[in-house]
Symmetry: C2
Subunit: 318 residues, 2 copies
C-alpha cells in the first residue's frame, strides 16, 4: 500500500480538478476541465471522464489503487450519489458508480467538499496534530468539516461539518436553503458585500464591489466596511462556538477567499469568539487561517481515499 | 467481565444518587443523599463517600469492578475534576481521584450529566439502535450528549453535546454563561415561565407559576402560554437542526421536566424543525420523548464505565 497512488477528484460548480496523489500528499499528475454546470448531467459526467482519461494517460496510473472524490454538496456517501446545488443536471447522480465504471472498477470514496478540505488541513495543514478540529471555507458559500477523536468525521452521508447552514439568528433573514439566519447568509463573501452596499458603502476607483473590495475599504478604516466584516465575524464566531460546545474542538481553521481578507475578518472574529465561547471547555479554542491553498480539495479527497483503504485510521504525513 | 457490576454515581445540585448496576442495566442496590451544595467541597465529598459506603455494604459489592460517575458540569474528564455550576465548593475538584480513593482504587470513568443520560438512552432507551443521536434534558437547564458512529461521544473533556449553551440568537438576551441567546436562555423551564409572565400570563387557582403551570395553560388554549412554548420549541429546533447539520444525527431524544409538557412542547418544536432542518441530509431527523426516567443518570454513568472497560465499544443490552 505504501507506494501506491490515489486518483483524486475535486468537483465544483466551476471546475473539475483531478490529480494523482502519493502517500506524502504530493500531486504527481494533474488534469482540469471547466464544469459544464448548466448542461445535462451526462455532459458533466463526460467532463469528469475526460479528467480521469487524462490522468490515466500518466505513466504512473498503473500504481493507482483507489479514487477519492470531493464534491460540492449535498452528497450522499451512503448511496454514492451527489446533488450539487450549482450543478442542476446532477440530482441524486450516481457518481460513485460512474467513476468506478470509468476507472475499471477501482474503489471510490466520496465526501463533501468541506469534508475534503478538512482532511487536507488535518493531514498536512493547519489542523495537523489536532485530534478535534473544525475546518471551514468562507467564500461564495460557507462550508466545513470536522475531525473528531483524531479521525475525519464525514458523517453517514458525508456532509458533516456543514456549518454554513446552521442558524445563529432564529429570526434572521431568509436563507436560500429555506432556513433563517444561517452563518452563510451573514458571513459569505456575497453577503458581506451586499450588507456593506445596503449600508451605504461604495466601491473605490477600481470598481471592486466584492468582499475583497469591502476588505480593502475596511483596512483603510471605512466604518461601514468594518461593520460588515464585524457582523460576518460575529456569525462565524457564534457558529464556531456552537461547534466547540457541541463536539469539543480546540482549533478552527478558516480558508477560502473571504479568509484572504486577513485581520479584517480574523480580528473581529476572535473578539466575538470570546463572547460566544464561554464554557470552560471551549475557552482555549483558537482560530487560524488555512494553509493548504487551491489544492486542498484534491489533497483532501486523496486523504479520504487513503483513510478508507486503511480502515479510517488517521494519516500521518511523510 | 460479563457478570461484573459497576458502581454508578449521579451527582447533581440537589441530590447524589448511587447504584450498583449490572450488564443488563438493572439497578441491584441503591443509595441516595441530598447534596450539601452550599457547604464546603469536603462536605459535599463526605456525602459522596456516604453514598459509596452504603453501596459498599451491599452483599454484591465484591462484584464491582469499576465506577461510573455522571456529574453536573462542567467536568474535566481528562483531568478527572469537576466544577458544577450549582456546587460552588467544587471548583476543579479532583473527584476521580477521591472516588478511586474511597473505593480502594477501582477505575473511575467521569462524564458530564448530559453525556450520562445520553449513554442511558442509547443503551436501553429511545436512542437504542441509532448510531447517530442527540439526547437532551430540558429542565431547570438544558443539557445534552451525543452518540456518533455508534459510540458515545463525550469529547476530550467529557462535556460534548452541551446544546443548552449554543447561541441561536446572536443578539439575544444575555445568558448567565456570558454568551447571548443560548438555547437554555430561551427554552429552559424557568425561562418559559418568565417569558409567559412577562407577556401577561398569570397562574391559575393552584398558583403554579412554573413551566408546568404554563404547560397546563397552553393545553387549555391560553395564547400567551402557547406562544412561550412555541418560542422554546423554536430555540430547541434551531439547536437540534444545528447539531444535525454539524454532525449528522437522525434522532433527537428529549427528556427532563419541560419535556413532560408533551405536545405543548413537541408540536411547535416539530413544526419549527421543518423550518430550520432544511438540507437533504437532515430532513429525516425525528424528535421523540426520552424513556429512561429518573434513573437515566445512574444507568448512563454505568454505561460509560462499562464502555470504558471494553475499549469504548457500544454496549448492547441483555
Amino acid at each position: 500500500m505504501h507506494n501506491h497512488l490515489v486518483a483524486a477528484l475535486d468537483i465544483g460548480g466551476t471546475k473539475i480538478a483531478g490529480a494523482l496523489v502519493d502517500r506524502d500528499g504530493a500531486l504527481v499528475a494533474r488534469a482540469r476541465r471547466p464544469t459544464p454546470a448548466r448542461e445535462s448531467g451526462e455532459r458533466v459526467m463526460e467532463a469528469v471522464a475526460g479528467v480521469l482519461a487524462e490522468l490515466a494517460a500518466s505513466p504512473r496510473w498503473p500504481e493507482v489503487t483507489a479514487v477519492g472524490v470531493g464534491s460540492a454538496g449535498p452528497v450522499d456517501a451512503a448511496e454514492g450519489t451527489v446533488s450539487p446545488v450549482n450543478v442542476p443536471g446532477w440530482r441524486g447522480f450516481p457518481l460513485v458508480e460512474r467513476v468506478a465504471g470509468a476507472t475499471g472498477g477501482l474503489p471510490v470514496t466520496l465526501v463533501g467538499d468541506g469534508v475534503a478540505i478538512t482532511a487536507a488541513e488535518h493531514w498536512l495543514g493547519a489542523a495537523r496534530g489536532h485530534d478535534d478540529a473544525l475546518c471551514m471555507v468562507v467564500s461564495t458559500g460557507v462550508g466545513g468539516g470536522l475531525v473528531l477523536g483524531g479521525a475525519l468525521h464525514p458523517g453517514p452521508s458525508g456532509n458533516a461539518g456543514h456549518i454554513g447552514h446552521i442558524s445563529v439568528e432564529l429570526d434572521g433573514e431568509a436563507c436560500p436553503c429555506g432556513s433563517r439566519g444561517c452563518v452563510e447568509r451573514i458571513a459569505s463573501g456575497p453577503n458581506i458585500a451586499r450588507r456593506a452596499l445596503e449600508c451605504g458603502w461604495r466601491p473605490g476607483p477600481d470598481g471592486d464591489a466584492s468582499a475583497a473590495g469591502v476588505a480593502a475599504a475596511a483596512r483603510a478604516g471605512d466604518p461601514v466596511a468594518l461593520a460588515s466584516f464585524e457582523r460576518a465575524g460575529q456569525a462565524l464566531a457564534a457558529g464556531i462556538a456552537a461547534t466547540a460546545t457541541l463536539v469539543e474542538i480546540d482549533i478552527a481553521v478558516i480558508g477560502g477567499g473571504v479568509a484572504g481578507a486577513g485581520e479584517a475578518l480574523f480580528a473581529p472574529l476572535r473578539t466575538a469568539l470570546r463572547r460566544y465561547a464561554t464554557l470552560s471547555f471551549v475557552r482555549r479554542l483558537t482560530v487560524v487561517p488555512a494553509v493548504m491553498g487551491n489544492d486542498a480539495g484534491l489533497v483532501g479527497a486523496a486523504a479520504a481515499a487513503f483513510a478508507a483503504r486503511t480502515g479510517g485510521s488517521v494519516l500521518s504525513a511523510g
